[in-house]
């Protein structure tokens, strides 16, 4: 179909979203999109989520951190924020989620908010709470997720452990 004249095209806003989870979490684009639509539907209802749109247009996630761009209709950014805040887990992995900024074009959002390179992480042996443990240490910012005996993690920083 012929595309709409410019004044009839919807205006979009793009939310740059930072994602975080435990190092063993696997979060895919489809799962994130599904959770986002669920959250929108639960919080905003069908008319509200139709108005907001909430389409994921960019997505990347690896080693417990990631980012996404979410397309939202102009004027609905606050409802989109509220819906995003209600995503507490994706595929049973708890996620931290934060809107870093909003732009009018995908390119501006990528350049302004997603430009920071991916953080490398590595496994290190550490002494945490007087026990020797393996921690996934994120280079550069001091965050570390310490693996506990029951296969769960403890969120820590370089203030909490000594390198073994």
């Amino acid at each position: 179909m012929k595309h709409l004249p410019k004044h009839l095209r919807p205006r979009w806003r793009y939310l740059a979203v930072a994602l975080e989870s435990w190092p063993d979490a696997e979060v895919g684009r489809r799962a994130f999109q599904r959770e986002l639509w669920y959250a929108g539907q639960n919080l905003l209802g069908d008319p509200g989520s139709a108005a907001a749109d909430l389409t994921v247009v960019r997505f990347a996630f690896a080693d417990g951190t990631g980012h996404a761009l979410v397309k939202v209709r102009r004027g609905e950014t606050e409802s989109a924020r509220a819906a995003l805040a209600c995503i507490d887990e994706i595929d049973d992995s708890p996620v931290g989620i934060r809107v870093q900024g909003i732009s009018g074009t995908i390119r501006a959002a990528e350049e302004n908010y997603l430009g920071r390179g991916r953080q490398e992480s590595e496994e290190r042996n550490v002494v945490f709470g007087n026990e020797e443990r393996v921690a996934v240490v994120r280079n550069g910012d001091g965050s570390a997720d310490v693996r506990l005996p029951d296969e769960s993690f403890a969120g820590a920083t370089d203030l909490d452990y000594d390198l073994a």
């Binding site: 409802s79 509220a82 708890p94 931290g96 809107v99 920083t157």
Partner: protein, 234 residues
């Protein structure tokens, strides 16, 4: 704005990680309010210097027995900057709002808890802040969340009418449960709490900490008696 957290061992993340996350999310500080049976060990000054975030020592008294709670509140009042009492039953809600040593009544609408005009007025008189706990709105779905939102709306209507002081928190137990102030304000708008009300409630933790630190500092001889110009210097 401040966030009130439960750190390891009550939660999954250490105080340092929670403080670091708070800084990233745009908070000015965290209130560590672990319960008596799961106290966190941390170095507030070290964390403050590293992440430029205020760390406030606190406690949440969690029991079903008002007498036991009364003893615990008395014990912690001198050492902790913020003393909260976990609500959720009629007797504990009533105990907390009638006790001026209590700073915050946490989640008064949870479980069987309820708040009416009598409790709201008592809380106003004794300076007890009623907490709006958003954690279950963020984490639950369906009927449980509907009831939670109904409870918060009712509480807002009462608090708004009497001008009872309030605090707002998402009560994170790990760094992944943090949500930024703007997100919480946006969520508040959707469920009937005005955005400014939510932001004011997040900021109230900071004002409370500042006041209590001043009252507990050297410039007060005892509660209500401030060191004046007639006191001799030591």
């Amino acid at each position: 704005m401040y966030e009130a957290v439960h750190a390891r061992p009550a939660g999954a993340s250490t105080v340092a990680r929670l403080a670091k996350t708070a800084a990233d999310y745009g908070y000015e500080g965290v209130v560590v309010r672990n319960c008596a049976d799961a106290r966190a060990e941390y170095d507030p000054d070290g964390i403050r210097d590293e992440y430029d975030v205020d760390v406030v020592a606190g406690v949440e008294v969690r029991t079903d027995d008002p007498q036991e709670a009364s003893g615990a509140v008395g014990n912690y009042r001198t050492d902790e900057t913020i003393v909260a009492v976990s609500g959720g039953t009629t007797s504990m809600n009533r105990f907390a709002v009638e006790n001026d040593k209590v700073d915050v009544l946490s989640h008064p609408m949870a479980d069987d808890g309820d708040v009416n005009h009598v409790l709201a007025k008592a809380a106003l008189e004794n300076g007890v802040r009623l907490e709006f706990d958003l954690s279950r709105v963020l984490g639950e779905h369906g009927g449980g969340r509907v009831r939670e939102i109904q409870g918060l709306r009712k509480l807002y209507e009462i608090v708004d009418h009497y001008g009872t002081p309030h605090v707002v928190s998402a009560t994170p137990t790990s760094h992944l449960e943090f949500r930024a102030p703007r997100e919480l304000a946006a969520l508040g708008e959707r469920i009937g709490l005005p955005g400014e009300f939510v932001e004011d409630g997040l900021a109230e933790w900071g004002r409370l900490a500042e006041r209590n630190r001043r009252v507990q500092s050297e410039s007060f001889i005892e509660p209500g008696v401030e060191r004046g110009r007639y006191e001799e210097k030591h």
